[in-house]
């Protein structure tokens, strides 16, 4: 009965979304305040209804109600409680419900906190948001009902895919979805602006915090997914250029571009038309990701049940939203007035350059991801586009962008002076050069690109630090007074510095972990020793162990460095009993920022096992950098000047910030 109640709540949410799609927009166009006022309460009620239905599904999972088909197929009574809970979104229907829940949550946030928005903009935005939720709730109800019942329920469920039985499932999908779906608000704002025919600096002011919020979560979601794949799959890789990963990288690239162009629009009223287009693109790419993952065109751990009806439905939704918004754009964008002239060498110019490279890189990823699908559909020829393609296209596009990153914040608005800007970066350049030479000296000439990569990473990091230090005039006024100024800097300044510093950290991790990694693959018998990067690994033997819903064979290893025991590692091979599915559990030893990674292959029967050991120098920096980036974004959101409804930035700049404070 409770389950049917959840289903019914979802139907109600659908009806409410329909109302939200039509009535407020009608009000906005007719100038009727009462119709516009419908939007906020309806958006909040839709959220409540979807929340109810999500709670009902969660309850079915926690109580292991196998009369619900979805629970039967994806749960097991012996599964640990945490995985019963996270299993709610460890399948197609449940994760789609989570997706919709976050979607209507964002709608409710705008409805609830949008009091400072112009009435018609709020109404139109919520209506557009209503179209999206109508489409996706209908998708759930029509093709992916999570509440379908089974007539004669069996006593035991089929269990969750063992790969997903991990703390990662509790973190990765929700973060990623908040990121993906968060861009829906930006999209709705853009479409609403097109419908109403006006965008201005205030619009950009409104959009930027939402974009930042979505971007921060997407950054964390991608980083978490990468780390999860790294430790769970046992291959020691952190990025595979898999279409599903690319599907999340594309909105990230477009979103990063949007973040930067929105700054230009907010400050200088320039790039309006472009910013609106980027807002549409970013969410369109999120939708494309959803389509790729859910339609069954790909096979991966993310592709749950494949049902052609679902693929077609999402494809139709995709065409309506992307085609419709782009058609609207083509029709209405010329009406938006352009403003704000600037010289090519200026802050605006640097931000345009940033946008150019980011969108080109995004296009490269787009082609690499979709070309094989297209070729298969048209000619039937099967190809795979892997890491070599992306290294050759994405890499060269990122290098000039990274070189340019430190210059952006030190250039002034409107008309900048490249020479004066470079002077502020001498120290950073010197440091980068020094470390490049040091890496050359350390590793010799056999790796040419790696030291340059290290130099590039240091350049980006040091550039970020140099920018904020010269902003507070540390050389002129001395460290003590400069420190006081640093504390007083606006959040968005710190945000920029941290985000740029973070990207440098990530790049450093990527370069060192790929160029200087050491790998050994050996067949080991008890007592055998493998030597790698100054560590000696001794295999002490293997023993079986029982888990709650799996059996495993655990290999015991002792790691020594110069004779002294550093740590013990226990990687294992598990067999999950319900599905009879094997998984590899790698054992990882973290030392500083580097990691020793050990995974087991199949056992040979005579006590010998295949072992794969990696030493990955500074690899954790890849994810730490992402966290720093997201932190920068978070600090930027908290900036009072960006806060929604805050008064226009006062002419008086905070002490220490030069005229070009940003």
């Amino acid at each position: 009965m409770i389950v049917e109640f959840g289903h019914y709540a979802l139907v109600l949410a659908f009806a409410l979304s329909l109302v939200q799609s039509v009535v407020p927009l009608w009000g906005a166009l007719a100038g009727d305040d009462r119709l516009m006022a419908v939007a906020p309460p309806v958006s909040v009620m839709t959220f409540v209804m979807v929340l109810l239905s999500f709670a009902v599904l969660t309850n079915a999972y926690l109580s292991a109600d196998f009369s619900v088909l979805n629970v039967l197929e994806n749960s097991h009574s012996a599964k640990p409680l945490l995985y019963k809970f996270t299993g709610v979104w460890g399948n197609h229907e449940g994760s789609m419900l989570l997706w919709v829940l976050i979607l209507v949550f964002f709608g409710a946030l705008v409805g609830f906190f949008g009091g400072n928005l112009p009435k018609d903009l709020r109404a139109a935005t919520l209506s557009v948001q209503g179209w999206i939720s109508t489409g996706f709730i209908l998708f759930l109800l029509a093709t992916s009902n999570p509440f379908a019942r089974v007539v004669n329920p069996p006593l035991e469920g089929a269990d969750l895919n063992p790969i997903l039985q991990d703390i990662g499932l509790a973190i990765h999908p929700p973060l990623l979805y908040v990121g993906y779906v968060g861009f829906s608000i930006t999209f709705s704002f853009a479409v609403a602006a097109l419908i109403l025919g006006r965008t201005d600096a205030a619009w950009a002011r409104w959009v930027r915090p939402w974009t930042l919020l979505a971007w921060c979560f997407l950054t964390l979601g991608i980083a978490m997914g990468s780390y999860w794949a790294y430790y769970e799959l046992g291959w020691g890789g952190w990025w595979f250029w898999d279409p599903v990963e690319n599907a999340s990288l594309m909105p990230w690239l477009a979103g990063t571009a949007l973040l930067h162009s929105a700054i230009v629009m907010e400050r200088r009223e320039a790039l309006k038309i472009w910013t609106v287009l980027l807002a549409i693109f970013t969410f369109s790419l999120s939708l494309l990701g959803t389509f790729l993952v859910r339609s069954g065109v790909l096979t991966s751990v993310h592709a749950f049940a494949t049902d052609p009806a679902r693929g077609v439905f999402i494809l139709v939704l995709l065409c309506i939203f992307i085609g419709g918004s782009l058609a609207l754009y083509a029709w209405r964008a010329p009406a938006l007035k352009q403003g704000g002239l600037f010289a090519p060498i200026s802050r605006e110019g640097a931000l345009v350059l940033n946008n150019l490279f980011l969108t080109s890189a995004c296009a490269a990823v787009f082609v690499g991801t979709l070309y094989p699908l297209l070729l298969d559909a048209v000619t039937g020829e099967k190809i795979s586009v892997g890491a070599p393609f992306f290294n050759l296209t994405f890499g060269p596009l990122m290098v000039p962008l990274l070189i340019a990153v430190p210059f952006g914040p030190v250039l002034s608005w409107k008309r900048g002076d490249l020479l004066a800007a470079s002077q502020r970066l001498y120290a950073a350049f010197g440091l980068a050069l020094l470390l490049t030479l040091f890496t050359f000296w350390l590793w010799g000439m056999d790796k040419v690109l790696a030291p340059l990569g290290v130099g590039l990473a240091v350049w980006v990091m040091a550039g970020a630090v140099a920018e904020i230090l010269t902003r507070v005039k540390i050389v002129e006024i001395g460290p003590r007074r400069a420190f006081a100024r640093l504390v007083g800097l606006p959040g968005s300044a710190w945000g920029t510095t941290l985000a740029h510093f973070g990207i440098g950290v990530t790049v450093l991790g990527v370069v060192t972990a790929s160029a200087f990694q050491e790998e050994r693959i050996e067949t080991m018998r008890p007592g055998d020793v493998v030597e790698l990067s100054g560590y000696q690994l001794t295999f002490d033997g293997a023993a079986p162990r029982r888990g709650p819903n799996f059996n495993e064979e655990v290999g015991h290893f002792t790691v020594r460095q110069g004779g002294a025991i550093v740590t013990r590692l226990d990687p294992s091979k598990r067999i999950y009993t319900a599905r009879q599915m094997p998984t590899t559990e790698a054992a990882i030893y973290t030392t500083g920022f580097s990691q020793l990674y050990l995974s087991l292959g199949e056992s040979r029967g005579d006590g010998a096992v295949d072992v794969r050991v990696y030493f990955k120098p500074l690899i954790t920096l890849i994810w730490i950098g992402c966290v720093i980036m997201a932190l920068g974004g978070g600090i930027s959101i908290a900036d009072r000047r960006l806060r929604v409804g805050a008064p226009k930035p006062s002419r008086k700049r905070p002490a220490g910030a030069p005229a070009a404070a940003e």
């Binding site: 197929e73 895919n161 751990v301 350059l353 586009v385 393609f389 596009l397 292959g601």
Partner: protein, 153 residues
């Protein structure tokens, strides 16, 4: 600079970056993509030595031989032809005799396929799409049961 010059500079810079990106993409598409082949494809048309391909099919029953140093050799078959494969490394969890597999690498001069990656993906019912279709073409595919199992996940 005049307004017009500024605009031209901007458009010029944008054009240069986009042209560069396009050039890179086309070059890479020409050079860096890997074609999927079945054992019959390999038997039928000679593949240029040193060309990377993806070889997909079923792991032939009883063909897996493991030797020391994590060396493995096995045969990939599409029930008509079979190609011997060698690989050094840890096989994926779902690698089994009689199951679908996709390997990537180069055919050596002796006709042995030297793989540097072996994929047998995340699902116990997973048969790589390409392999399933290649087998269907040859009529060796009993898709109904497997298809049902897949949708039960």
């Amino acid at each position: 600079m005049t307004r017009k010059q500024r605009r031209l500079t901007l458009i010029g810079a944008a054009g240069a970056v986009l042209a560069g990106a396009l050039g890179l993409i086309l070059f890479a598409l020409n050079d860096q993509i890997v074609f999927f082949q079945s054992p019959t494809d390999i038997a039928d048309n000679a593949i240029a030595p040193g060309q990377r391909i993806r070889l997909g099919g079923l792991v032939e029953d009883g063909s897996v031989v493991r030797s020391d140093n994590a060396q493995v050799s096995f045969r990939v078959t599409d029930m008509e032809n079979a190609v011997p494969v060698t690989y050094k490394g840890i096989l994926p969890d779902l690698f089994r005799e009689g199951q679908g597999v996709v390997t990537e690498g180069i055919v050596g001069p002796d006709g042995v396929f030297v793989a540097d990656s072996v994929l047998a993906k995340h699902d116990e019912n997973y048969i790589p799409k390409e392999v399933a279709e290649a087998l269907k073409d040859k009529g060796y595919w009993q898709g109904e049961e497997a298809g049902e199992k897949t949708s039960a996940n």
